[in-house]
Point group: C2
Chain length 343, copies 2
């Protein structure tokens, strides 16, 4: 004796198999699954039984094609390295899951996304979040024109042909950058270097503008380019920088670069903060252990808010474009001068 339809290996049962096995039509099976119309108790019973014994799981492709929606969202990262992106993804995935949507991730690995990969992604989701400098405005516009809403994250809003613009969510770079700059001046810095990779992200450009505005009247300010934005890149850039001239302070574009600066400074026997003030951005875990002054941004919340804005847009809200700015906060530790430390 075997069960009615031995679950065939390698190919899931279809709704037709269930219908046949239960002796009803496919519409009835569909109704039972979706509760979209009343079904006689007995019939429901038989269908349920058939579904169980066949281990039936509806094929997403069929469902999506019929429903006209993917129930999936995409997110495009420039890179997946480091704690920043992981936390954004965490917040995004959690909120998207709650809203009944799967998450498809695409990393462009530092390069600009290949148009094909972005359009391909767009064709398999209901909406897309685009981080920083991953996709040219032109393609963002094209994706939206194709009917797939886009939310930009940590990136300026993109103007659309329709006259509207993308929803966007980002962290408040300016306020904390200004505060950090003032603080550094307080500690006596008069020769400041802004260190980072300006091609990395629009966030960095915003911070640098704010740094400049505050520092320039009171100090010498130079921008120095690091090629890359990880610890090694920071160390390399700092080594050549310190070899030629020693500034009072280095404001790095993120914590990783700042940690690289600390390494280079230690190699030269420089005392931080006595000889050199160093600050980062992001407040990654290592920053606390290195005593690095930095700025904390709400990475999870960025991801979560993006997911919710996107959901609203997919759901068809006609609200005007939203631009959310999430608060950040300066975290004082010992690399910017002697004082009470935050944790």
């Amino acid at each position: 004796m075997r069960s009615p339809e031995p679950p065939e290996r390698g190919r899931g049962a279809t709704i037709y198999d269930v219908a046949a096995s239960a002796g009803v039509s496919v519409s009835t099976v569909s109704r039972v699954m979706r509760g979209t119309a009343p079904v006689a108790a007995l019939t429901r019973e038989k269908v349920g039984e058939a579904m169980r014994s066949l281990r039936f799981v509806p094929n997403r492709l069929g469902v999506s094609l019929a429903e006209g929606r993917h129930a999936a969202n995409g997110i495009v990262f420039p890179d997946l390295t480091g704690p920043y992106f992981a936390d954004v993804l965490l917040g995004y995935e959690e909120a998207a899951g709650e809203l009944g949507r799967s998450v498809i991730v695409l990393s462009t690995h530092g390069r600009d996304a290949a148009p094909a990969s972005v359009l391909g992604l767009a064709s398999r989701v209901d909406g897309l979040v685009v981080l920083g400098r991953t996709v040219a405005d032109e393609f963002v516009e094209q994706v939206v024109a194709g009917g797939t809403p886009v939310v930009t994250l940590a990136r300026p809003t993109v103007a659309l042909a329709s006259g509207a613009s993308t929803d966007t969510v980002c962290a408040d770079n300016r306020t904390s950058a200004e505060e950090l700059a003032r603080h550094v001046l307080t500690h006596g810095a008069r020769d400041v270097v802004l260190l980072g990779d300006p091609d990395d992200s629009p966030d960095v450009a915003e911070r640098w503008a704010a740094f400049h505005a505050v520092l320039a009247p009171a100090a010498r300010v130079r921008t120095v380019r690091s090629h890359g934005f990880d610890e090694a890149a920071g160390a390399r850039a700092a080594r050549s920088l310190l070899a030629e001239h020693r500034p009072d302070a280095v404001l790095a574009q993120n914590d990783e670069v700042a940690l690289g600066v600390l390494t280079a400074a230690a190699e030269r026997g420089l005392n931080v903060p006595g000889d050199l003030i160093v600050t980062g951005w992001d407040d990654v875990m290592a920053a606390r252990w290195a005593g690095l002054t930095t700025v904390r941004q709400p990475m999870r919340d960025l991801g979560e808010r993006a997911a919710r804005l996107l959901d609203a847009r997919i759901t068809g809200t006609t609200a005007p474009p939203q631009h959310e700015v999430l608060p950040t906060r300066v975290v004082h530790r010992r690399t910017c001068g002697p004082h009470q430390e935050d944790r």
Copy 2:
């Protein structure tokens, strides 16, 4: 004058629109796209023109339904927090992309995955990677029985009804755990606590078994449970542990927990490593800045290998189940005793 078919907002053009616009049949359009059969140069030209002007992007659902494949893989994480998972994902996404597959991520947020979410995911991918303790063996088997290959990562292989078992890739826990244990004995530890959350992952169980085997003959060994496996959990557990009794050494399940122990030890004025030896696992960035002795595992490679094993299985290899064990290495720093430090 307007272009032939004004790209309608909100709804992408279909292959029928292109065919109509070019004055050919859909089969011809399909052939042009896929190069699956010869097409007259002139025709190809017209079709290309139509596709461009309509900004046609084939709908993935249609393609997938017809092709009978999703061109997407899933990956199920217990959690997305911390550097470990981000790096695994990085390696996975990179390899999957290279193999022409999108990546759908699902996090179970520490809990066991809801069967519905896993089966739902399985129904929209061609294959699945399952990390650690996220999905009960029973469901893994069910997913595979349904025709979706599964690769287990950092988790023992799952026996299948077919008599086979899942492909699996994991890091070598035993060798490094043994080495670390011997090393700790060398530094004089005779009262050792293994600290962690045994429910967290099979990896931890493996390490603890190896620790035990080496330590038990020469030292007192206790296992202490931390509820959770982040820094705060480690600190909490260490506080209550140290309040009652001070061991010579705490071997934590991962770096985060170990860093929590360092914090708790500092609060009590204990000298590390003089009064207390501490070790972690994973070699996250913060470990270097905290001087933590730990074990480095090739996270990216884990993800990449999983992607490739999965691809082979999807592609239909009939090779016997693969079980890959990737090498790890102990990183000596100052929390385990005085000596030359690794970076």
